[in-house]
Symmetry: D3
Subunit: 246 residues, 6 copies
Amino acid sequence: MTSERLKIMLLGPLTAGKKREETIQNVKKTYDSVKHPQTDIEVVLIKQGSSFINTRFDASLNTSYALLEMEKAEDKGFDAIYNGCFADVGVTAARERLNIPVLGAGHASITIATLLGRRFSILTPLKNGIPLMEDLVRSYGLESKLASVRSLDIPVEQLSVQSKKLKQRLLEEAEKTIKEDGADVIVFGCGGLIGLEKWLQNKLKIPVISPTIGLKVLESLLNIGLSHSKIAYPSPPPEKERLIKY
Amino acid sequence: MTSERLKIMLLGPLTAGKKREETIQNVKKTYDSVKHPQTDIEVVLIKQGSSFINTRFDASLNTSYALLEMEKAEDKGFDAIYNGCFADVGVTAARERLNIPVLGAGHASITIATLLGRRFSILTPLKNGIPLMEDLVRSYGLESKLASVRSLDIPVEQLSVQSKKLKQRLLEEAEKTIKEDGADVIVFGCGGLIGLEKWLQNKLKIPVISPTIGLKVLESLLNIGLSHSKIAYPSPPPEKERLIKY
Amino acid sequence: MTSERLKIMLLGPLTAGKKREETIQNVKKTYDSVKHPQTDIEVVLIKQGSSFINTRFDASLNTSYALLEMEKAEDKGFDAIYNGCFADVGVTAARERLNIPVLGAGHASITIATLLGRRFSILTPLKNGIPLMEDLVRSYGLESKLASVRSLDIPVEQLSVQSKKLKQRLLEEAEKTIKEDGADVIVFGCGGLIGLEKWLQNKLKIPVISPTIGLKVLESLLNIGLSHSKIAYPSPPPEKERLIKY
Amino acid sequence: MTSERLKIMLLGPLTAGKKREETIQNVKKTYDSVKHPQTDIEVVLIKQGSSFINTRFDASLNTSYALLEMEKAEDKGFDAIYNGCFADVGVTAARERLNIPVLGAGHASITIATLLGRRFSILTPLKNGIPLMEDLVRSYGLESKLASVRSLDIPVEQLSVQSKKLKQRLLEEAEKTIKEDGADVIVFGCGGLIGLEKWLQNKLKIPVISPTIGLKVLESLLNIGLSHSKIAYPSPPPEKERLIKY
Amino acid sequence: MTSERLKIMLLGPLTAGKKREETIQNVKKTYDSVKHPQTDIEVVLIKQGSSFINTRFDASLNTSYALLEMEKAEDKGFDAIYNGCFADVGVTAARERLNIPVLGAGHASITIATLLGRRFSILTPLKNGIPLMEDLVRSYGLESKLASVRSLDIPVEQLSVQSKKLKQRLLEEAEKTIKEDGADVIVFGCGGLIGLEKWLQNKLKIPVISPTIGLKVLESLLNIGLSHSKIAYPSPPPEKERLIKY
Amino acid sequence: MTSERLKIMLLGPLTAGKKREETIQNVKKTYDSVKHPQTDIEVVLIKQGSSFINTRFDASLNTSYALLEMEKAEDKGFDAIYNGCFADVGVTAARERLNIPVLGAGHASITIATLLGRRFSILTPLKNGIPLMEDLVRSYGLESKLASVRSLDIPVEQLSVQSKKLKQRLLEEAEKTIKEDGADVIVFGCGGLIGLEKWLQNKLKIPVISPTIGLKVLESLLNIGLSHSKIAYPSPPPEKERLIKY
């Protein structure tokens, strides 16, 4: 392992609306608790767009803005970007634009899920997020490993890890994924659920994966000296005419 | 067939830079020549973003802006949107947001290709467009029908249907898709190639599909009274906090 | 759009038994109501074979005869053939034999279904038609998009669009495809259901596709100048010894 | 093993034209040399249709007639039908219509191929047979095991197992399937090649499968008491109106 | 058919513990009743390892020992090996090591199942055997044909074909595979069930396949002169340093 | 991150023959250089079996012995097992038998490859290793991401990272995977290649993955508190009769 410090941009491709400061602090605290001592994390939210991401509509609406923030990462001295929203908003494009490693929480979480079991299920805040998750899994070619996506019927912005109702809903739906859908690994399809993975894992006795695993994978890649392939994600030709007000 | 007039937004999810006016006029002229007499077409380009779409990076950079234009379509009285760029920028999200039919040129073109042959190839302006096209085909679940994507090595903004070089490159690459890749249908992966499909079809004696076919399909859907499924593309819940300057 | 008249053979690969004249008139009336003004439709039924197509057995029994009728289309001055039976009886072979466009109702319907939703279900008259439909969908490589095939338990020859029972069965089974099978688009797997698509669509609020859409697609192909690929459907070598009494 | 005699219809779904008697005798002799002593084989050719099957067109043209011959098998006292033409003409429909085992040479050959290697290639008389073979393999869900289909460029009716040219072409194309396509098993896609499998196997040192294997498989099924599933191939409802002159 | 005697090793990759002699006699008797008169069968069990195979753990634990027994087959004068345990323990490796045909009961059974129906289900002794069976089916690329694997909840060593409870459990689970899982062929996933296939077949009216079918297939291969491909299963290079105490 | 020390068994499922001590020391040194400071690694080789693993035959021959060593891990106080041989010998069975995390180098390497690119290729010592690698990739359901497996034509036991010839062969074959097979990530299919990944990565400018990445992934899983799912890998029932001399 190298002994240099690693500076990672923790991107939230959402504005968080009125919860902006609270969100930044919570995310920072969460990832600081799992990161390697030599890692420094800076949380960045976008400045325009939807406040939270519940649907494919929200994800698309925020794509340009997420990309505009990620574009700045190399100039700002970041060593890597971890896109902490499960929808992997703008990740593919950022991998084309940048040379530093860019990793999405969705990609990392479902990939690690395939290492631990045979069929995973994703829990997502709203029903409208189901096609979003299914499309994402398919885009990574892992649809044969997906048991199901189930919704908690609670919007992202109302998820509160202290809430009894949230715990109850998590348990109800997770148990259905096991008994009815054949899942053997649970994946949290939203950063707002971080903090409940250990609790749920103890209840279910199967692995429960949250987006935090992706930060560890990203640190491992950086330690070993690996990044995404620039043949798979070729740099775009230099732009001549681009018009952005942001 | 109904006898009402149909008003269709022909969206170009690009600014076209200095070629903006010229592009709007060309697209208008092209689609007016294939449309049904009862159809009215209005060409709309986005006001911010990349000038043309050659890469996944360009496509993502323009997604928010494309969506912001498409969002207005119902209020502006359009009966449907045809997104004329092969990358189908923002189409899925617009289908969630709107109730009028929204169709992407990429989706329509490759779907019709599967009606006419066994394995199709896509010709795309730049090599960087290859992963964009491959991802698109996979997102529609039609990867088993794709023979190949080949590049003309000419950026979108330099495509000129009068150009001898363009014709030569089209013929060269199209013949390779047939002989080396096993294609039996050619799909133009860019609106900038419209006008050369008949010429190439005569040379190759196999179907050559351009984005114009999608307008005809959209007219057919409107005639028969069909639109996208709102179970597949559920309307997003009402937004409370959204911050956009556009 | 071209301004020439188009003469389309509307082939029913069945004899219709005692209902022959009635069937010819009904089909003619149905397609005349959706066709483009410049299109002329002539309904052709086969002269030998099974009266209606409920099973793979019926479909195979009628294949030679359907092909013998379609073979004559070019000599009779038709511009295209629309094979209106969902089983696409003899379509592949006719595409090999002929140069004019040949399109099957099954192929067209399920292909358009994939443009409008994520997973479609087919409603078919008898349970025995289920493997027929499943095989057809698989032959087009679209099995990953198929939610289910469900039967109405009413033979084709007894389908009557005025029947209360038929409406009730349609609604019952269509609702099951949505709730139990995850369908978001309904496809009528039989021409005998034409006329009930709007009614069902209003009830379910999702797209309901009948074989009429295929005629519109075929008109679009003719308008744009597209036909099936003769590499995919190569002309058979000239026959020397063929023995047919028909 | 039971000790009863088994009477098997060896169906050729072709008229064989002027070579009718010669073909019947050759096929009889071939299968008599591989059959079990307790098996009796009767060769049946169809009375109308194409003389030989080189294309999907030929196969479809002969489907009704093949079915009409197979329909009579139970009444004529046959214990099973072996459809010796690789195109499996009418096999699915005959399985619906009959209760005795019906097996197609194509289905049997490629299924046994998957038992012996990882990827098989099919050799077919004419190039026009390539899509026929590819469709067949896909209809059995074995496309992931298919390395390639290659053509000998010799029509079925001109195949002569004594011919030097045929041997040369077989060797040439078979070697290409191994070196260029990654095949490790060769399948003869035509009964007209029977007799050359041992010779080619000795040259190539990999398994060469001809349609004769299917007769052995059928005998094994009969010995063990197995037939096709009548849930998978449900009997058609009784016909009321059927019009056939044959 | 050749008239030479065939000597087949019937390998049981298990020690059978205290039931060793009884198991050898039962297996011998079973296969003697289905074999061809010219076939001689010798039953061989391994000398170390797990007594019976219920899990992937058991199968792996016995792999080295199964291979050590199969290695000796050519020197001992066997013409072929039939590995009668459904888990196909060591079969792939033995095919690499040997030139005589080696066939596994699992591979043969599920392959024949695909010849007889559309979707098969496997009945396995214990629940722990389900992933074993699913992995096996996937390793042969036939997962699209698998309706389900269901457990009888009776360990292999307690299966008794006279037991009323076993018959009841077989019937219960087999009926569920048909009604709930869509199976149309049943496959016995364990040699311990041999003897009940006819009884169950009469009850269900669909094919019930036991490992005995594989012996008939192996005899057919030997009769026709076919073995596994040595390109697919290449002989390992000569070993220099190998350390085995067995 | 927790601050406890982690004790990991680094299993080599091979005896290494005369190179036993040298191999243990090299592997120890290699993994010590990439491990986290809090991790302790103990290298364990099997005591019987093949000296190195070049083929499926070698892998199967060593399976029982590898499992016997892994079985002891919990009693010996290990926190996890990293099976450093790419063939993942006995990993599935060990996951059933044990509760501590067990990870295979093959599984980890190809899974991480899918995070970094679109299509990976594996470099393997001998040609006989190609089917081994292809089967492994398929067993993890990642065959759609595999560009190719290519052989260096040097047996494992002769791989020497100082060798000029090895570097030359690596470069030659890796370049072919990119140019001819479409790979964008390279995976070393053998622990014997560790040490050359950085060198090759600098030459090719695409990611080169060696089995060391798996140790980092395993550390990440342990840090986050994740292990394999015991529903996917259920514990075998207690054995009553087992006979092993080892």
